[in-house]
Structure formats: C-alpha cells, structure tokens
Amino acid sequence: MRRSPAGFRPVVVAAAAAGLAGCDGPLSTLDPAGPAAATIAGLWWAMMSGGIVLLTIVMALLAWAFLRPGAGRTTSPRVWLAGGGLVLPAVVLTPLLLAGLWAGERLLARPGVPGIVRVDVTARQWQWDFVYPDATPAVSTNVLHIPVGRPVDVHVTSADVIHSFWVPRLAGKIDAIPGHVTVVRLAADRPGVFHGVCAEFCGTAHAHMGFTVEAHAADAYEDRLRRLGRNTR
C-alpha cells in the first residue's frame, strides 16, 4: 500500500479548515444579511465560478498534454496562442466584467428611494461616532442603530487619518477621508447584531477599531433613538 508522507494529511486538513473557517463568522461576506451584501456575495460567487471554469479547462489541457504526449501537435501554435491567450480569457472575463458593472450599478446610493435613513459617521483614532440627523440630538459611539428593511445611507468622514467603514454582512467598504464625505448604502433584512471593522490601516490600534451595527424592528428602532437622545441631553 502506498503511503503519503507522514503528516501530509493533517496539514491538508488543517489548511482546508483554516481556509473554510473564513467563510463563516461575524465578518463573513459570504453570509450576507442585506441586499447590498447579497449583491457583493453574488459577484464573489460569479468570480469564483469563472475562476473554476478557467482552472478546470487549463488543468484538463495540462492533463491531456501529460497523458497523450504530442496529441496537440496537429494544432498550430498560432491557434494555441490565440485560443489560450485571447479567446479563453475573453470568453470568461467578459461576462465577469459585465456582472461587475451590473453589481456596481446596483450598489450605488441613488437618491429618490423612499424610506432612506441617514446616519453621519465620524471615524477617529480609534473609534466611530454616529450621529442620527433624523432624531437629533441622538448620538452613539461604536454602536450603530438602524431599522430593519430600510435603506440606510451612511455618510462617512474622518477627524484625523483615512479609515474605512466596513460591515461585511451588510455592505461593501467605504473610505473615511478627512475633509470629504463619502456615502455607502446598507440595509439589514433581519434584526440582529452585525460586526464592523476599520478596513484601512490607521495606526497602532487599527486592529481594535471595531464596532457593531444593531438592526431593530421599526418600533424598537424609534424607541432606541429616543433613549439615545435623552442620554445626550
């Protein structure tokens, strides 16, 4: 019986487990909890599928070359170069480009959508301050409250260096740039607590610059903002 080198199997299992562990957990983009994150996850799966298609074709050709040496010799080098270097990537990458453009259009925070909630965010070393203009003077730090099922436009800026606002299960990243306001639209399609991080290195405590997003049902959300407002006063 042939044996694989000692320790090979545990290493493979450990590597696979470490890789797959990234697919789950509070910061997983593959476990979306809202429409924007779902669009991004869909694009990720489309890219993954395209990558698998390309890898499969290339590996099949490689196996063919190994198992039937010389079988491809009847085809001219020109056909191999144009087919493998231009046609194959174009056929796979063009649909992926279109999917990317389509996803990008869907993620834009277009005005005029009914029921938009606005939140103003200021990032600073090393915390997140949230202001709720619809419910002044409500403010909160490192916990963002949003209503379930409504589009939330997060207006992001920074008080010092560049940070990046990222709640992987709800939306994509947006940079927090001093002197600028950038906007990302997110939405949660269920109540719950979602984790966010700073996604741009911003100093020694960057790795600890996390925050949470609490998505509440409509009544609970109004109630929460009223309480926040009272605390501020």
Binding site: L101, G104, E105, L108, A109, R110, P111
Partner: protein, 117 residues
Amino acid sequence: MTQAARITPPRALLLLVAGFVVWSSAFVWLYGGLSVGCAFGWDRITLAGTSALRLGLLLIWLVHVAALGWLLAYSRAVRQAGRSPPFVTTAATALTVVALIATVWTGLAIPATTLCI
C-alpha cells in the same frame, strides 16, 4: 554594407511603447475627468441630449481612439518602408493594435454606466 540601412532609427523603438502610452493617457484622462467632472457638477449640465460630462468623456475617448488609428497607420508605414528591423516594426504594429483594442474596450462603459450620484 547593408548595415547602415539597417540601423534602427530611435523612432522605431519609441513606436514599441507609443500605443500603450496613448492608452494610459486615455485611462488617466478618463479617470481624472470623471472625478473632476463630478466634483464640479458637469453631469447636471445637459448638452446634446446627454450630460456635458458624458459628452466630454466620450470626446476624450474618441480623440485617443483616433490618435491610435493614426499611430497604427504610421507604424505600418514604417514597417513597409523597411528601414528598421522587421521584428521591431512588426512588434510595434501588433502592440499598437492591442492598445487600440484596449482603449476601445475601456471606453465602452462610458455611454452605459452611471457617472456621478
């Protein structure tokens, strides 16, 4: 004796990179033009049935495509004149074709996608 006739004019070497220099110029002008145009609100000015910004970007694109068309004709003429090594002029022509395709490809999104919000 034919050595003198085969000396590479520096121009032929420049032709190797010229196509992609034009492509990168198109890229930078489109990228910068979009950002500057959005900052100044040129997307809100209507011109010839579309926004002034989209029209401007299309113009930038067309100028670069036209420049590459001219460059392609020029590098083919240099190749046919046969005063430079055939490898250099053939490679220059091929690279210009690739740069032309890349530039056309880059600009195809201009009419279709959202400029500013």
